[in-house]
């Protein structure tokens, strides 16, 4: 499944560096779940840590400072991909350590 790394890389590059309604720096902040002002920061953090707790009110609050729905769409996508990426990278590193050790033991 080596193509998966390329596909994941293309996804991350597109959402962070491609054209969007939110700025690249805002999208990167959502991806990293770091450095966003409230109320958007609270929404992004919920998406990253426990998305099932997101409510209608969270979305309404995020729109209040004047964000468009397209901007919220992009920020939520970046938050979800960012958290999933951190999990994936952590797990791959753990696998590398475990498989590397196993190889040395053999």
């Amino acid at each position: 499944m080596s193509d998966i790394r390329q596909a994941r890389k293309a996804l991350v590059k597109r959402i962070l560096e491609g054209a969007g309604n939110a700025s690249s720096s805002e999208r990167r902040a959502a991806f990293n779940n770091s450095g966003l002002a409230e109320p958007l920061g609270a929404l992004v953090d919920k998406v990253a840590r426990h998305a099932y707790r997101v409510t209608d009110e969270d979305i309404i609050a995020a729109k209040e400072p004047g964000l468009s729905e397209d901007q919220i769409f992009e920020m939520v996508v970046c938050a979800a991909v960012g958290q999933a990426t951190r999990q994936y990278d952590t797990a791959l590193a753990a696998l590398e350590t475990a498989a590397g050790n196993a190889t040395r033991k053999e």
Binding site: D70, A80, Q83
Partner: protein
């Protein structure tokens, strides 16, 4: 759906496609389809490529195994939409009478093979706690899963840790089981593209 653009902000051609889907399947268009078809160059196209590779690309895990992993990750995330959707696909893909809902409720008392069981437990921990360590991976390797199988499972896990978050954040409508059955048939014949 919490964002109006995702429900009805699509272009004319996409709306016409939705009308065709409704006619052909006699079911509502699932919100996950509406999401991937909205400004698809931003999310839909690149994410579909990831999901297609993870769920249908070359792997020694069967399609049923990978759909079960997807449902298990979704259940761990408490995402009702994705749990029901992918349990339906796994049920249909296995076609051996294995009860997916029983498996999802209790991995310990069922007949799935040890490498798959250990892999699911690791994916559950990763999804719940956002991290796993080398000891967790050693347990999966010791259970008989290969390094490549673990990598393949992590790709499934990645995909559904994205999709499930979006389903819950955007508030996907959870339809009845007939709509998920129609979706399962589609995913088994056409894949994720």
């Amino acid at each position: 759906m919490r964002l109006r653009i995702l429900d009805s902000g699509h272009g004319f051609g996409t709306k016409a496609l939705f009308a065709l889907i409704r006619m052909a399947s006699r079911q509502p268009v699932l919100d996950v389809i509406k999401l991937v078809k909205y400004r698809p160059d931003f999310y839909g196209y690149p994410m579909s490529a990831v999901a297609q590779e993870a769920m249908r690309g070359p792997s020694t895990w069967s399609i049923g195994d990978r759909e079960l992993m997807a449902a298990f990750v979704a259940k761990t995330n408490q995402c009702e939409f994705c749990t029901k959707a992918h349990a339906a696909v796994a049920q249909r893909a296995y076609s051996d009478g294995k009860s997916i809902s029983a498996l999802l409720s209790d991995l310990d008392t069922t007949s799935i093979k040890e490498p798959l069981r250990a892999t699911l437990l690791m994916l559950g921990k990763l999804t719940r706690e956002h991290a796993v360590d080398a000891d967790d991976m050693r347990s999966v390797l010791a259970a008989g899963a290969s390094r490549q199988q673990i990598e393949d499972a992590l790709a499934v896990c990645f995909s559904f840790n994205v999709i499930g978050r979006l389903a819950d954040a955007f508030g996907f409508f959870v339809p009845d089981s007939e709509a998920f059955e129609a979706g399962a048939k589609y995913l088994l014949t056409r894949g994720y593209r």
